[in-house]
Symmetry: C2
Subunit: 240 residues, 2 copies
């Protein structure tokens, strides 16, 4: 059995290496990659079926890498090991995991025990292991209660990218008015409004910009999500 580790930070990498050795005596080879690009390549070359992957990496982040890896070999088992449980990451991951694939999401703050357990569960037992904290987000986001639907999230990303209503309409195949409707829903859910309640104009917000900021502060968006969205946008722009 071989395990591939994809992780930026040398300290974390060697920690993972040890953890894998300790948790999986049946593992005879451990390979290391220090960023997503190398990770993809090694996964391909070695046909790795067991991967531990960091999410936040400089060169090519974990979500991107995982997507292409899963595209080529959907039965690959991947354990995401991340510092954060931003909703943006969670959403990003659950959008790319293939049906029935075994995967895991464990926070770096988890104990050694927890990590080892997750390693065994996923790689040996083919079970999904999702950190409790992450799980909470996932359900809130999928169950519509208080969560954001895909269309709401989509339009959030679009205004975050700085598109006009018209451009969004064209991109998503909607009318102008529909775009604005969705925006309204979004503002509503994010609880942004003009603060115009007072007698004279006071601390007014530009709803569009404010929505993006609030989403950021709530970790609904983060750098990595923006980066991906921007790449998709460019792709779309090129394809006219």
């Amino acid at each position: 059995m071989k395990v591939l580790i994809v992780e930026d930070d040398p300290l974390h990498r060697s920690y993972l290496h040890e953890a894998v050795n300790a948790a999986l005596p049946e593992c005879d080879t451990v390979i290391e990659a220090e960023n997503g690009t190398v990770g993809e390549k090694l996964a391909r070359d070695h046909k790795s079926a067991h991967i531990v992957m960091d999410l936040q990496m400089a060169s090519r982040n974990g979500i991107e890498a995982a997507r292409t890896i899963w595209k080529e070999r959907p039965e690959t088992r991947i354990l995401f090991w991340s510092n954060y449980s931003d909703e943006a990451y969670v959403r990003g991951v659950s959008r790319i995991v293939p049906d029935g694939a075994a995967y895991g999401y464990v926070l770096k703050s988890a104990s050694d025990e927890r990590l080892k357990l997750a390693l065994r569960s996923i790689f040996i037992e083919s079970q999904c292991v999702i950190d409790r904290e992450v799980r909470g987000l996932q359900q809130k986001s999928l169950g519509q209660t208080n969560g954001f639907t895909d269309s709401e999230y989509e339009i959030l990303v679009d205004i975050a990218l700085g598109l006009t209503d018209r451009a969004i309409a064209k991109r998503r195949g909607l009318s102008l008015r529909s775009v604005q409707n969705r925006l309204q829903q979004l503002y509503d859910k994010l609880d942004v409004y003009q603060t115009a309640g007072d007698d004279h104009e006071d601390g007014r917000f530009n709803l569009r910009a404010r929505a993006v900021t609030v989403a950021f502060l709530r970790k609904l968006l983060n750098y990595s999500a923006l980066e991906r969205a921007e790449a998709e946008l460019q792709e779309w722009l090129d394809g006219k």
Copy 2:
């Protein structure tokens, strides 16, 4: 000699601990804090004059902590040890360092040697040590060439927060038109424009939102900067 380490990640923390021991034999006590809040407290209690500090921490980030520490004891020597060299961090740090204080900024990707050297230079020789990569940013940002002036940066933050032109005018004591002027400067420098060059409307951007995104992608802004700005805004709003 005492050294205080303020760092989120247990692995990095113990690595730092060792590095300090190795680099500074004259150091007899090493104290550790796992977030900014605790860091501030320990700095106060121990009157620490030598601190190594991570920037990105969950509870209270390094910049906030450093600011209050320096406010109470400006001669404190602080070495910032960070994963990133985002312009937002660099700008944030250089805005709070007191005149003539010895401080340092070293990236986590630097070699052991470099880190040890920086520790000695700052704590023993009272010299500033700024990572070359960071240095580059700093100069570009302070020297006006291609960099952003304070007023440009300020208005960038304001629209990122989602304020309207009017609100910005009030907050900064300017006329509406002046705010819009500065916005124009900003758009210019960020190189955002309507893409209206074509015959019919195509990939139009909402300049205001686009500017924020571009700034994010260029690391001119990041989560921590937003968080701080938001806190300041709330403060201002409360003070009417």
